[in-house]
């Protein structure tokens, strides 16, 4: 398995309320997984644990056979090679598109960087916008910049947190198509978290439905959506 989450517990200190309880999940290389669930179901926490932005209370995480988390080991986020696209994109406002993308690879030599960024800009169709600042871009352009910034470091895993929640509904369709295109081109292990079934349908090889930190249904997206096991799942996929 390429990604393995083993018996993860996660709770906030204060109330000892579990967000995740004995959560286990594994993924094969170069697959795309979609996680659907209501807000508070723990789906964003899963991404943050994989990225190393949160420490689990107990349990283990492996990426590409290497332990990230467990026992006394904790690999900080900067050493995990995990690319993440944040819900609000978190583009650095004081940097241009070019500088944003350059940020994660600035220790490489100049030529290599230039080469990489040019390629990526072409891939995400932002060549003309490379000197613009984030606030001068449309929502879709911002999203693609964030995606470019995340994949230029050639991550082992790409994490997308609610990638479309900040966009107008009538634009979503087009943007989703574009994003789908890019992701299938780069072909890396990807996890998308969302509360919108359309994201799962267009992008994912596999779909998980999450409720209160537990997997309630798992399978091919088509199957899950056509035969929901419970009322809760039905509510989400309809």
């Amino acid at each position: 398995m390429f990604l393995e989450l083993k018996n993860l517990d996660f709770y906030y200190n204060k109330k000892k309320k579990y967000i995740l309880n004995n959560f286990t999940l594994s993924m094969k290389n170069r697959k795309t997984l979609s996680i659907l669930g209501e807000s508070g179901s723990g789906k964003s926490t899963i991404l943050r644990l994989i990225a190393g932005l949160e420490k689990p209370s107990s349990g283990k995480i492996f990426i590409d056979q290497q332990i990230m988390n467990g026992g006394n080991t904790f690999i900080p986020p900067e050493n995990r090679k995990v690319g993440m696209v944040f819900q609000d994109y978190a583009l650095f406002p004081h940097m241009t598109v070019y500088e944003n993308i350059n940020f994660g690879i600035n220790d490489l030599s100049k030529d290599i960087r230039k080469n990489k960024i040019t390629k990526i800009l072409k891939l995400v169709e932002l060549q003309e916008f490379k000197d613009k600042y984030p606030h001068q871009l449309s929502g879709g352009q911002q999203q693609r910049t964030a995606l470019a910034r995340a994949i230029v470091i050639e991550p082992k895993i790409l994490l997308l947190d609610e990638p479309f929640s900040n966009l107008d509904t009538n634009l979503k369709h087009n943007i989703r198509k574009k994003l789908n295109n890019i992701i299938s081109k780069i072909n890396i292990t990807t996890i998308i978290v969302s509360h919108d079934k359309h994201d799962a349908l267009t992008l994912a090889d596999e779909l998980i439905i999450l409720k209160d930190g537990e997997i309630v249904q798992k399978g091919k997206p088509q199957n899950v959506i056509s035969i929901p096991k419970t009322k809760y799942i039905k509510g989400i996929v309809n």
Partner: protein, 540 residues
């Protein structure tokens, strides 16, 4: 679970060192608490304590109250209305902050007493003799007046910033519900801004409790005068510490009240793009009517005292030409610059550590960082002095070479005391800056392969710049005005504008002190101007 990200990082280590340095001087003080009570303490309790408590309470309560009334209403007026000179007032109303209350008190007494301009004018030109007790301000109400008029800007500044961020739609909605503008202020804006003005008033109250100059001159005994008195005049460290402890309890109660009255409610807007409040344009008579109130406050809080100081400077300038004003000015600017830089650096380190490490130990760093502001200046001074003497003797022991008092005779001791005293102000600015920036950028940068330190310099620092600069300026103004610490801890041949002005005034040479007071005020005004113009620019 100790913390969430990166348990062993340099940030925690450096923060811990800073925190230890902040705590150590207080440890020296509070070790004394366990000593036996002296017979002085019985005397103080019998005859004096009641007075201290009563006076301190009356002063803080009414100054706090009036500061809120003036500060909030002014902030509302300049944000809600567009009237004659309203843009000028927006920053001019901060200016009374440039005048230290003790200078203000000397100025007002000089202005209003028998030989002052007002009584003299009536007596000599109109042959009207005013009952002097009518214009006597050397009493509790007078002290409240002085504090309010020179300290309300703390409330004004914070509330003003709050109103600026409010959405116009709140007012528009209230209007569609048939509310008049006064009612909107009273029922909507006032409750909304509670957190802001309570925060400002807390600063005012702490300043009042700490002030020494005004109450000493007016002959009002409060905690801060009594701490000086018992410590130095009675030579009774023990009782002084007990008094300090009582004062700290009082401060603690105030801070708890602040917490409670601020509430947990955070009235933040969920969406980022709010349409800001647009001032309602007043015309003709109404515009002038609105002009009156801010103009009166500006007159009393700034123009009048400054005019009086200018007058005194002119008549006394000849007497002080022997003074090396340039070097005094250089000293003042030098210590406030270095002090503020240190404060901001430490504030950034601690605030970033608190943000990154969310464990319980680190959370308390934030509380310790702001502790100094609530400790009376005299107590900090003695604590720091004891601490530095101890340091010196350990240096001598370690180096095994008798080099004498290296640190405790240096300017470093004073700067360190400033650091402890004003870290709270810098820390609050920096912390709110971090809050504004949020953690998203930080996290994004971490997933892009950057360490905490690299993230800080490349991502956080550029975005924090406005908060750092305004924090720096605020601390500079405070250090410039600072008195008790400087008086006790300065090294040989070292004068600042504040100490020199105080010395003249204390020797009953108020005219001679005017030139120095005036220079001090000018420097503060320049800093305040930079602060406001920078904030405007920073908005983009």
């Amino acid at each position: 679970m100790l913390n969430k990200i990166g348990f062993n990082n340099k940030w925690s280590v450096i923060s811990l060192i800073i925190i230890i340095f902040i705590i150590l001087p207080s440890v020296f003080i509070f070790l004394g608490l366990f000593e036996q009570a002296s017979d002085n303490w019985v005397h103080i309790k019998t005859y004096l304590l009641k007075d201290y408590v009563f006076n301190s309470f009356i002063l803080t309560f009414f100054t706090g109250l009036f500061s809120i009334i003036i500060g909030v209403s002014l902030a509302w007026i300049v944000n809600a209305y567009d009237f004659k000179f309203s843009n000028f007032f927006k920053w001019a109303l901060i200016l009374p902050m440039a005048i230290p209350p003790y200078i203000g008190s000397y100025t007002y007494v000089g202005l209003l007493n028998y030989t002052g301009v007002i009584q003299t004018f009536f007596r000599n030109n109109l042959s009207i003799i005013i009952d002097p007790s009518l214009l006597n301000i050397m009493n509790l109400p007078g002290a409240i007046f002085i504090y309010t008029i020179f300290l309300y800007p703390y409330v004004y500044l914070i509330t003003n910033a709050f109103f600026k961020k409010q959405s116009a739609s709140i007012i528009e909605v209230s209007k569609t519900l048939g509310k008049g503008s006064f009612e909107i202020f009273l029922k909507v804006m006032l409750p909304l801004s509670r957190g802001a003005y309570v925060g400002g008033a807390t600063l005012v109250v702490l300043e009042v409790l700490n002030d020494y100059g005004v109450v000493k001159y007016f002959g009002i005994s409060t905690f801060s005068t009594s701490i000086f008195q018992t410590w130095f005049a009675l030579g009774d460290t023990n009782s002084a510490i007990k008094l300090s402890a009582s004062l700290m309890i009082l401060v603690f109660i105030i801070l708890v009240i602040e917490r409670i009255s601020r509430g947990d409610k955070k009235y933040n807007h969920s969406s980022r793009s709010v349409k800001p409040l647009k001032p309602y344009k007043l015309k003709g008579k109404k515009s002038w009517a609105m002009f009156f109130f801010p103009a009166a406050i500006f007159l009393i809080g700034f123009l009048v005292p400054v005019a009086q100081l200018i007058h005194w400077s002119i008549i006394s300038y000849g007497n002080i030409t022997k003074l090396n004003i340039i070097s005094i000015l250089f000293n003042s600017i030098g210590v406030s610059f270095i002090g503020s830089i240190l404060v901001i650096i430490a504030a950034v380190i601690i605030a970033n550590t608190v943000r990154v490490n969310k464990d319980i130990l680190t959370k308390n760093y934030a509380r310790i960082a702001i502790m100094g502001y609530s400790i009376p200046g005299a107590v900090i001074a003695i604590g720091v002095m004891m601490f530095f003497l101890k340091l010196d003797s350990s240096i001598n022991m370690v180096t095994n070479y008798d080099i004498g008092l290296i640190l405790s005779t240096s300017i470093f001791m004073l700067i360190f005391a400033y650091f402890i005293r004003f870290l709270a102000i810098g820390f609050n600015s920096v912390e709110s800056g971090f809050q504004k920036v949020g953690s998203n950028y930080f996290e994004a940068s971490r997933t892009l392969g950057k360490s905490i330190t690299e993230t800080f310099f490349k991502v956080d620092l550029p975005m924090l710049k406005p908060s750092l600069i305004s924090g720096f300026l605020l601390v500079s103004i405070e250090i410039l005005k600072e008195l008790p610490l400087t008086l006790i801890l300065r090294p040989f041949n070292f004068n600042t504008l504040a100490t020199r002005a105080f010395e003249y005034a204390n020797d009953e040479m108020i005219h001679e002190s005017a030139v120095l007071s005036l220079i001090l005020i000018i420097v503060s005004v320049i800093l305040i101007y930079t602060l406001t113009s920078y904030k405007k620019k920073g908005k983009r």
